[in-house]
């Protein structure tokens, strides 16, 4: 369905080697929900944007992206031209700024249908009303004529969802779709996403720093740290037995309603950046080797891989 191989993204002003996304490789099956978690700045959004072909023009990107049978080359706008909006729907974090304030929302959603399916203005509107209804944007007839500022945040995010799915894409990319929303609204959007995956038989790539969201939606999880995927696992495995120390800290840091908080983050030690593990400088179990040597991706089971010298030995439940 989607295969990403050796994706590298860099800015000339980034880290030492300029890369902020390093050698990201993963794939996504039909109807699968894959989540990406990681701290802020770990490269989640960039990865998603690279897949959507929406990286800013001044970014250097390398690697291979295969979508279905198509090859999408980073930097080649034409590769994506007929993919985006039609076969690949994308939802962003901030619904408030993702809508053009000057156009009625119905018309902005209708754009997709007019461009990709060639519907007329009228037909598009009728179709949009249907989509709005199915996403619970009511009263749909009224809503299509309204402007973004007349809608609440949750409504706007639903409109964005409507625009992303109205061509029945086979892949939906959602970059922190609920971060800007209230819990109750977030719950609704998550419910919708789940429904879309089921009903439209689409795959979903969901990005979030909220492990709760990931836990609720994803089948498989990729954990990113400093531009690298440090761990990859089915969702159950990951939450039960996190292998990478980074994942462990992450999980332990989540404030939970049912468990006391636990954290053991150590401050970054400056000057410890090296060839080694990207988490080494903060890792509680750091050893000399971690700083010197890149651990490499260790495949542990068909669904599972981790990048840590000591992961296999470590106690996941510590």
């Amino acid at each position: 369905m989607l295969k990403v191989e050796g994706l590298n993204i860099g800015f000339s002003s980034g880290n030492e080697d300029g890369r902020v996304v390093k050698n990201v490789t993963f794939s996504l099956q039909k109807q699968e929900v894959v989540g990406i978690v990681g701290e802020s700045g770990s490269g989640k959004s960039l990865t998603a944007m690279a897949i959507a072909g929406l990286l800013p023009p001044d970014v250097l990107a390398g690697g291979e992206i295969f979508f279905g049978r198509r090859r999408l080359r980073p930097g080649r706008e034409e590769d994506w031209q007929n993919v985006r909006g039609r076969e690949m729907g994308i939802v962003f974090q901030d619904p408030a700024s993702s809508l053009n304030p000057l156009l009625p929302v119905g018309s902005q959603v209708g754009e997709v249908l007019r461009i990709h399916i060639g519907l007329t203005e009228r037909e598009a509107e009728a179709e949009v009303i249907e989509v709005f209804k199915s996403l619970g944007i009511g009263p749909a007839k009224l809503r299509v004529r309204q402007y973004p500022h007349q809608l609440s945040g949750g409504m706007k995010q639903r409109v964005m969802l409507a625009a992303a799915i109205c061509c029945n894409p086979s892949l939906l990319i959602a970059d922190e779709p609920t971060t800007a929303l209230d819990v109750t609204v977030q719950a609704q959007i998550l419910g919708l996403l789940r429904r879309i995956v089921n009903q439209q038989q689409a795959s979903l790539l969901i990005i979030s720093h909220d492990l709760g969201v990931i836990a609720q939606l994803a089948d498989r999880v990729l954990v990113m740290c400093a531009g690298e995927i440090v761990e990859e696992a089915a969702v159950g495995e990951l939450f039960d037995h996190p292998l990478h120390p980074y994942t462990q800290t992450l999980l332990a840091s989540v404030p939970r309603l049912d468990r006391p908080l636990y954290t053991q983050r150590k401050p970054v030690m400056e000057g410890l950046w090296g060839q080694g593990c990207s988490y080494a400088s903060r890792c509680g179990r750091r050893q000399h080797k971690c700083l010197q040597e890149w651990p490499g991706r260790k495949k542990i089971s068909p669904t599972r891989a981790v990048c840590c010298h000591f992961a296999a030995e470590g106690d996941a439940n510590e």
């Binding site: 985006r84 962003f92 901030d94 993702s98 754009e111 997709v112 500022h149 992303a164």
Partner: protein, 316 residues
């Protein structure tokens, strides 16, 4: 929306009132009176007297102000001291020439600036972008009168391609003749305008390009062109209208220079003659006229925002 327009209208009225007060104040701060100014002009003593009468010098200031304003509302702006004719008539004779000059250069400058500005923003960092930046910087630094003189020297005198004087060739008038006369002054004015606008347009478009909704539109599969016309341009319209409206006083200033360099028969040249001759009623009326024109243009620009932007239009 109507409420907003009305509120804005009320503000405009306040500004207009302020303009009259300011003008009145300036007029009254003039020391002495014009009779003493320039004996060589052989000013008509009755005209001067009549002007002094118009100021109702014997009455207290507020009363003078009220009667002055009410006279103006009736269309009586007084007589020129030199022409001894109603100032309004004299303005009407010259306004068309000035409007022709300013409006055409304004449109030219704005149109080119919008095209170049958008292009430069989209191709940020490209050769054209840098070229536009350089031209804008040079254009803004170029004194209009010098550019005008250079133009006359080169195109009228050395090459004899273009007429450098006036607006028409007497006896050989026609559309083409008019255009030939307009080329240089319009260009001088437009260069400054272009330099000024293009920065704003470029900045505005760059700002919009960074907005999430542009990325979202790309994500929906819109082409560059569709995004430009459906999403970027309408959003850029607000800042462009703003800068255009705010630049109107600048346009008048430019006309002042261009008209004098090219002997253009408009308000700008006349106001200089009148200023040198201390023709107070003329100076004041022209000041007030232009100020009011600007205030009204600003008002229209604000109404235009409301048409463009639903957030203002559909305010609860």
């Amino acid at each position: 929306m109507t409420l907003l327009v009305l509120r804005r209208l009320a503000q405009t009225v306040i500004v207009l009132l302020g303009v009259t007060v300011a003008t009145f104040f300036i007029m009254h701060s003039a020391p002495g009176h014009p009779l003493q100014a320039n004996p060589e002009l052989r000013l008509d003593p009755t005209a001067v007297e009549r002007w002094l009468e118009l100021r109702d010098l014997d009455q207290p200031l507020p009363a003078q102000y009220v009667s002055w304003v009410s006279r103006m509302l009736r269309g009586d702006f007084g007589n020129s001291l030199i022409y001894n004719r109603p100032v309004v008539e004299l303005i009407a004779e010259r306004l068309p020439a000035t409007l022709l000059l300013t409006v055409s250069s304004f449109l030219l400058a704005l149109a080119t600036a919008v095209v170049c500005g958008i292009y430069a923003a989209i191709r940020q960092g490209s050769l054209l972008d840098r070229l536009v930046g350089a031209v804008s910087l040079l254009g803004i630094s170029m004194p209009g009168f010098w550019l005008g003189m250079l133009f006359i020297m080169v195109f009228s005198y050395r090459l004899a391609w273009l007429p450098g004087v006036g607006m028409r060739t007497p006896g050989g008038e026609g559309f083409l003749d008019l255009v030939a006369h307009m080329i240089m002054p319009v260009t001088v004015l437009a260069v400054a305008g272009f330099a000024h606008y293009v920065r704003y347009v470029r900045g505005a478009v760059l700002e919009i390009l960074e907005q999430d909704f542009v990325r979202a539109a790309r994500a929906r599969g819109l082409t560059q062109k569709q995004i430009l016309f459906r999403h970027i341009l309408p959003n850029a319209a607000v800042p462009i209208v703003t800068v255009a409206a705010l630049s109107i006083p600048m346009l008048f200033t430019g006309a002042l220079v261009a008209e004098n360099v090219f002997s253009w028969p408009g308000l700008g040249r006349w106001i200089i003659t009148s200023t040198l001759a201390r023709d107070y009623p003329v100076i004041m009326t022209v000041n007030m006229y232009t100020a009011m024109l600007v205030a009204l243009a600003n008002f229209l620009a604000d109404v235009l925002y409301m048409v463009i932007d639903p957030r203002l239009r559909l305010n609860h």
